[in-house]
Symmetry: C3
């Protein structure tokens, strides 16, 4: 794969500064780039790195352009341009055809241009719209439907009666539609009686779900993932929870059941969000925060103590245990 | 699937108020319920919702019944009744028969009424008791045994020599019996030498394990999961750890090795529990707490700071770093 | 499997005290050990348990030997000796041969003595060096290469163009090479545009990766896992991150993208490490700490509040919300 700088400028409508014949064969960061690589300068803070980079050309803004003597591709939205240029160098596997080892129930319905990898399993009444791709070893339960152009990577598991929209990407190891965690103690026997999870999961369009994530089916309503939602790896979403459109959730975050999260939220990695609360639109939660009550006002929220050397930390947490008492003593002194 | 209110009352021994011929075709929450749905009122706090619900009937207590004019199913334990009624509307897939693509070692022993899905793999000396169901793509290692009526969903992985009791449910993506995390530094080579994990995992009866969870095999003793334990999604249980009967563990909680947890504990989501400690019976740990020492008294335990707006949080964690010093200054003032 | 104490002493170059004919058929902890078991006393704190143990022999140091009357295997590095002896009693499954149900692309290249389990899938241009073992249902994407003696357990997923070194072990459910979490907001449409993740993952030699872990491919450079690194279960490693040689990472830890971690670090379980930071060599992070800035000095670091009874905790976190204000009031009093 190699393009000329001129081809890239034309393809994405960018302003070209320099020789259009310069060959571009890859993308790299400023410090790593070699001849033939395209790199970027978005933040002027990295100007020095840009000036010493071996990249053959840079993607940047008009504002930065004057400070650079290398060939340039100029865009008012250089990050977006970069995301699109990167697609030229994407070597992801594209399956084609239906592998003979796939086990497809005779009552499954397949659209046109479907790709199904080896050992994939489609149960009865599965419906795949046109141009769906199902990776090797991926299993779809009875009655599950998948929208146009959606890609399921290998070893994904989708339970029965799940609805997945079009233009989605679901990565390996992810499980959608397993039973929500619902039990009722039976005081006579001491055991926890399972509450059947009779609803499903509905996933909108243009949703990406990372590897090893789990989204449970609901007990009283469907679990809902809005359009354009992006979910990272090892995220857990409980039964009946709703995620608003275009919200992004970073890795290993856990969201308990029956919680409603708004649109355009940014939820950091390793966050915990308890059940049955509500979070409005445009809320940002920083990494490893615990959200244990509803958030009714947009903005940025955090919890935790910050990191410190182990010895210092040990002394401080002893005081934290008596913090309320300490506050009282201070008040007494003030009085 | 549709039942009359009278059929449901009879099936579960409930007191019926209203027309026994009312058709019930589904379950829903009060606010979502439509005609044909059964809903519930457990907590009198939601009385207003119950009074305006479109549900055809409600499950509730005798105490609440007087305040309601809709048809009712009355039980002294309405939550338990609800859990059982929900079973009528459960559309979970039930496998039947042994799919010809399953790879079953000739030395595996199968009971009666076994179901095995496509591409499942049973190694030598695997033993399945009667009515076991093994999902598509699920792999069982050599010598593993599974008790009666147990269901393993698709794409589960069980290593060698694991014992799983009867009436268990194990969801997709879960891995049981991988090697515990045990290494010994070799100072001469600088490398970490693997400690072979020569014991296994024993899982009791009536255990449910969610999707994407991992339970490691032991180095010095079997990892033990007691009867009636319920484990949610993406829970990690380290080698040689013991979980007492009827304990429930919510999603993404991590329990390190050689720890002993009592019976009837409730462990919140995203909790961390360190290795080699002991937790007595009936301990409740709230979400995202870190348990770093043994808990010897039953009750409820927490850690963390609570959530706050990002700017406020940043100022507070600066003070937390000096908390011990601050306590000393207060003491000095008091003196 | 049974050995005499003499055989074990000879095999591992240990000093034998007692009858070399004593049969050893297993390993156990001091308290659990029965006749026929070998146990260990590393820490003199457990001397009483050693003196009452039913073990047939103990592994210990010369220093402890004088206090014990049981048969002994003596080593200056008894923990390392134990790790090696345990290998004798390891009953892990070893695959052999290539199962006819495996789907191997004609353009895959296989070395000698390869084992491939049922329903494994190797795409085009996969290369396996000699003595590689691929578990049942494991999928390797196009162009991925695996070094000598490396073992992939069942139901592992490796994407395209991933490099895995020799002598590695990768446990079930793990996913390597899924797309890193990278999106760029398009303000016009409100959607998050995917940034193609065009680099791969390179894993060194002698690396072990637990069950259900995920290591993403990079957008601007390969994600790198150094030689001898040990990664526990359900660990998440973001795109472009680098882990230095011989670092150990415990279960459910999440490391975001483009972070560089040094060598010989010990990262506790359930730790969160944000993106784009640097951690030097020999840093220890205790369980469930959040690392949100670079660590430039070796040593031990922690965060969190410590655990406390729920009622006390609730009072303390109210004060924490006003901690900065409280510090100011104290200063005012001092003045």
């Amino acid at each position: 794969m190699a393009y000329t700088l001129g081809q890239i400028a034309e393809e994405f409508g960018l302003v070209l500064v320099g020789d259009p014949q310069i060959p571009i064969s890859g993308l790299a960061a400023l410090a790593d780039a070699q001849s033939g690589d395209l790199a970027f300068l978005f933040n002027i803070r990295y100007l020095a790195s840009a000036q010493t980079s071996h990249a053959s050309a840079l993607v940047t803004t008009q504002e930065n352009a004057d400070k650079l003597s290398t060939p340039l591709l100029i865009s008012p939205k250089p990050r977006l341009a970069w995301a699109r240029i990167a697609g030229l160098f994407d070597t992801s596997e594209r399956l084609s055809g239906i592998h003979p080892s796939a086990v497809i129930h005779p009552q499954a319905k397949l659209g046109k241009d479907i790709a199904i990898g080896p050992n994939a399993v489609l149960a009865a009444d599965v419906e795949l719209a046109d141009s769906v791709s199902i990776g090797a070893g991926t299993c779809l339960g009875r009655g599950t439907t998948v929208g146009m152009n959606t890609i399921l990577h290998p070893n994904v598991t989708i339970y029965h009666d799940i609805v997945i929209g079009s233009d989605c990407i679901i990565h390996s190891g992810t499980v959608i539609g397993a039973d929500g965690f619902g039990f009722e103690p039976d005081m006579e026997t001491g055991s926890l009686v399972k509450i059947p999870q009779i609803y499903g999961v509905r996933i909108g369009i243009d949703v990406e779900i990372g590897a090893g994530s789990t989204i449970d089916r609901g007990a009283l309503n469907d679990t809902l993932i809005g359009d354009g939602v992006k979910i990272d790896n090892q995220v857990q979403i409980g039964h009946g929870t709703q995620i608003g459109a275009h919200t992004a959730i970073s890795g290993t975050t856990a969201i308990a059941g029956s919680t409603r999260i708004g649109s355009y939220c940014l939820i950091g990695g390793a966050v915990g969000i308890v059940d049955n609360i509500e979070i409005v639109d445009q809320v940002e939660i920083t990494a490893m925060s615990l959200v244990s009550t509803s958030i009714r006002k947009k903005g940025r929220y955090s919890s935790g103590t910050g990191l410190m050397p182990g010895k210092l930390w040990k002394r401080n947490i002893v005081v934290f245990k008596h913090l309320n008492e300490l506050a009282k003593r201070l008040r007494k002194l003030e009085d």
